[in-house]
């Protein structure tokens, strides 16, 4: 007996019109663009409420219309009766595309040599053909921030859509220089520096950060005055941060470090985003007061201290949101960015509530990253990043029926699904030879 998943079945049905349009090379299905009418669904717009019996027209990669009676005779009609449509989810922090197999150093491209390398561009190293990308997008995650890590200023992160064959096709309009804020936390169980040493190391690193900052400031000022300076790409990039052209994404997690980071930010004109913020709940009010937005996660994570409640990480996004912080959720993953809806689901269950949790993976990251005019909700004129599902996509039992990214209809296939197709009923089986 075959018991196919609904999604897979839907996928097969979806093939039929494509065949007619000769979109198949052999058995391969490509993403394709066009004019699509998603008809008669429950549309969760995020920003404009939930609309019943509503249709969406996708044209030129954008959401062209949202309404109850859209007439578009030339559009390919997809019946969505009984289904729900959400905006595509945005993961505010990943290494997607920068890592293929994490234990194989040759396939990891997120950490460059050097402590001050803000000029390293994650977008350059993104592999558009990473196996993890199709694995991710069928879960409804359509856009991710892909982030370099390593030294003090490890590089420049980029927001990408999970469709396209060149970085430029994928680029979703936002970059940020990453800073690993000097930490007073231990790096793991085997970091056995004394408390004093940790403090000293931390102070030293902070001093170093300030020096870099001041140097970049000087560089920027001199340049602005028309000075001809020696080629200095690191400072070139840092100066853009100081000038407010590129935001600074500050990775910071321990409560004391967050406080230090907020202090460090004070009086600086640049744009700042906090990232990680594992112990944000301890200092939520202070973060809220600062007005600095936060990308937090992973949510399915252990507490940072043995004495913490078991649900410290689950409840962190909710506590931050309640305090008034603008919160986006990230997985901090590579191959399993597909779990973003589940991280958000846990945040919802542990105090954040579904509505806020949905915002934290859609409109909030879009706003934090300054791309809310294009992403993060279902509104006319925004980029057509949409997911159609049988029910709330945070639920594991929900089946994602259709995914659109940048207006492209995404084939619901990937390595995982292909292996399922091949091996569910293996041929030859046990005895046949």
């Amino acid at each position: 007996m075959k018991r196919m998943t609904k999604a897979f079945f839907a996928f097969l049905i979806a093939l039929l019109p494509m065949m007619a349009m000769a979109q198949i090379d052999g058995e391969f299905v490509k993403p394709r663009t066009g004019k699509f009418l998603l008809q008669n669904a429950t549309v969760v717009t995020i920003t404009k409420g939930t609309l019943n019996n509503t249709s969406i027209l996708i044209e030129n990669g954008k959401i062209a219309q949202v309404g109850t009676s859209i007439s578009a005779a030339d559009a390919e009609v997809i019946d969505c009766t009984g289904l729900v449509i959400y905006p595509g989810m945005i993961d505010g922090g990943t290494r997607l595309g920068l890592v293929e197999v994490s234990s194989v150093a040759e396939t990891t491209d997120y950490a460059e040599v050097g402590n001050v390398t803000p000029n390293m561009q994650a977008l350059t190293a993104v592999n558009p053909n990473s196996e993890a990308i199709p694995v991710t997008r069928v879960s409804g995650v359509t856009t991710v921030l892909t982030v370099p890590s390593g030294g003090l200023f490890p590089g420049t992160a980029a927001l990408i859509n999970l469709v396209g064959y060149t970085p430029d096709q994928m680029y979703a309009g936002f970059k940020a220089v990453v800073m690993n804020f000097p930490s007073s936390a231990r790096r793991g169980r085997f970091d056995r520096r004394s408390d004093d040493d940790i403090k000293k190391d931390n102070e030293k690193a902070l001093k170093n950060a300030n020096e870099i900052w001041d140097k970049a400031k000087t560089y920027g000022e001199l340049k602005a005055n028309g000075a001809e300076l020696e080629y200095y790409p690191e400072m070139e990039q840092m100066a853009k941060v100081i000038a407010g052209e590129i935001p600074l994404l500050i990775e910071v997690n321990a409560a004391g470090d967050i406080q230090n980071a907020l202090k460090w930010i004070e009086g600086k004109d640049a744009k700042f985003i906090l990232s990680g913020v594992a112990e944000g709940w301890r200092v939520a009010d202070e973060i809220a007061k600062s007005g600095v937005p936060v990308v937090t996660g992973p949510v399915q994570e252990l507490p940072t201290r043995d004495s913490d409640r078991y649900d410290a990480a689950y409840s962190n996004p909710g506590k931050l949101a309640k305090a008034g912080v603008k919160v986006a959720i990230r997985t901090n993953e590579e191959e399993n960015v597909r779990n973003l809806p589940f991280h958000a689901g846990f945040a919802a269950a542990y105090g954040m509530g579904k509505e806020e949790a949905w915002k934290a993976v859609t409109i909030n990251p879009a706003e934090i990253f300054g791309v809310a005019d294009m992403y993060g909700s279902i509104e006319v004129g925004k980029v057509a990043n949409l997911i159609v599902a049988t029910e709330d996509p945070f639920e594991t039992r929900s089946e994602i029926m259709h995914v659109f990214i940048s207006g492209y209809r995404i084939p619901l296939s990937n390595r995982h699904i292909r292996l399922y197709q091949e091996f569910l009923e293996r041929s030859p089986g046990l005895k046949a030879n």
Partner: protein
């Protein structure tokens, strides 16, 4: 009983006899729950009566005997305690990585009942975990099955004394890296892994024969035969061949899984469970036919090369091919939401509720040899139970209370902030760990400097 050396039996007898003092057992009546028995279907609005740690009655309108507390679970779900078939929680040492075979090593020697991970697992509804030796060796140490009786001071108090013996095996990248590449000894390849296994079992057969011959001779008058050397390593392999120990084998690739099936068949071994088994789906018919199944991750893949060709549909393919399939954690983090990991089999393969739940209850119980005692809500079984708010397979489910042997060890309403059982007297500033070391399959493996980076920042499952 097979005629093993009496002398040794006398020596070894001691080691099996010091089962702990009586473990605490409780009584409780849980009323009006939606009871997901796993093996006997779903019972709406039903009651479960527990007395002295055992499920005594399951039905409706049960009344509590005097002195037995009643818990109202109206609107809530009751499921059997979750069983994690692969964990390293509560172990002070995980790997004795120094030899390709270390069957003599016993994880029960280094159980640490104070690890807060036990409580955190309880908060995720996990009542039993299989605390395993790591994956550095072809034949690792003997694992220990734990019951999460949080608060026990004696390590013996959290050991499930009535669980059968199990042992860790490991194939593929880990043992070949640690021994072949790390130390320049076999195995360096998957060929070598097979050779280590076959050599080991053949040596064990010789060992067994030597002792049998000695025992026969020693009982004769005027015996002039010397006793052979005692070797607990080989004796343990003999016990495996005699069917006394269940093998739990860390494995990823289909070829190596198939290899071990062949080795097991050649040596008449049937008690074999595969762990991780990322490519188990490729040899699902063989796993179903010849073994006790596979215990897998819900969706982990691509963290190392041997799991690059994986699918999250693995569990579903295995299950549909008739293999006993469980979902495990191998992680102090994942162990806290195994109900959610099991639920992923609904997205990846459309498992029914019972199929999904069986993967974290009765199926791991079968693989650990304890399914006659735990793993479902049935009269006569040990009362390991979890009350959930929301269906346990919903992403929004929140465990409310967790019982082991009828005693409540977790209650979300009475969950104090600081659950540590032991506090260091010399650390006022509590360490904050940002890189949680929750993946410990290769913990304690001595690595040289060049490997430090790998062990610190890469996953080594």
């Amino acid at each position: 009983m097979k005629k093993i050396n009496y002398f040794l039996a006398a020596l070894m007898g001691l080691s099996f006899s010091f089962a702990s003092a009586q473990t605490p057992k409780g009584s409780v009546l849980i009323k009006n729950a939606t009871v997901l028995t796993v093996t006997k279907g779903t019972l709406e609005n039903s009651d479960v009566l527990v007395q002295d740690g055992i499920i005594k009655k399951v039905g409706q309108n049960l009344s509590a005997p005097s002195g037995v507390e009643t818990i109202d679970a109206t609107g809530k779900y009751l499921i059997p305690g979750i069983i994690d078939a692969h964990s390293h929680v509560a172990l002070d040492v995980v790997n004795e990585a120094t030899a390709p075979i270390v069957a003599e090593v016993r994880m029960r020697d280094v159980v640490n009942p104070f690890e807060v991970g036990i409580y955190r697992a309880l908060a995720g509804g996990v009542t039993i975990s299989h605390a395993m030796h790591g994956s550095a060796n072809v034949v690792g140490g003997q694992n220990v099955t734990l019951k999460h009786r949080w608060g026990a001071e004696d390590p013996a108090g959290i050991i499930m004394q009535d669980a059968p013996r199990t042992i860790k095996f490991a194939l593929g990248e880990n043992p070949t890296r640690v021994h072949g590449r790390g130390r320049g000894i076999q195995p360096r390849t998957r060929m070598g892994v097979e050779a280590i296994l076959r050599n080991g079992f053949n040596e064990a057969l010789q060992y067994k024969k030597a002792w049998e011959e000695y025992n026969a001779a020693a009982s004769q008058k005027g015996n002039t035969t010397l006793a052979p050397e005692y070797d607990e390593r080989l004796q343990t392999l003999v016990d495996i061949l005699d069917g006394k120990i269940i093998i739990h084998c860390h494995s990823y690739r289909a070829d190596e899984i198939y290899m071990l099936i062949n080795v097991a068949r050649d040596f008449g071994i049937t008690k074999l469970v595969f762990q991780h088994t990322n490519e188990g789906f490729k040899v699902a018919p063989e796993i179903a036919e010849y073994t006790m199944g596979a215990s897998v991750f819900a969706d982990w893949w691509a963290y190392k090369f041997e799991v690059y060709y994986s699918t999250a549909f693995n569990a579903a393919i295995l299950q549909k091919n008739g293999a006993i399939t469980s979902i495990n954690s191998d992680s102090a983090e994942l162990i806290r939401h195994l109900y959610h990991e099991a639920a992923k089999t609904q997205r990846y393969g459309g498992m029914t509720d019972d199929e999904a739940l069986s993967m974290i209850t009765i199926n791991p119980a079968k693989q650990l040899g304890i399914s006659d005692k735990v793993g479902s809500i049935e009269v006569g079984k040990q009362a390991d139970l979890v009350i959930f708010e929301g269906h346990p397979l919903s992403v929004y489910a929140v465990p409310q209370q967790t019982y082991v042997d009828g005693i409540k060890y977790f209650d979300i309403k009475e969950d104090a902030d600081d659950q540590r059982l032991r506090v260091s007297p010399t650390e006022m500033v509590e360490p904050i760990y940002m890189t949680q070391e929750d993946h410990r399959c290769l913990q304690d493996v001595e690595l040289s400097f060049s490997d430090i980076s790998k062990s610190l920042f890469n996953t080594n499952y």
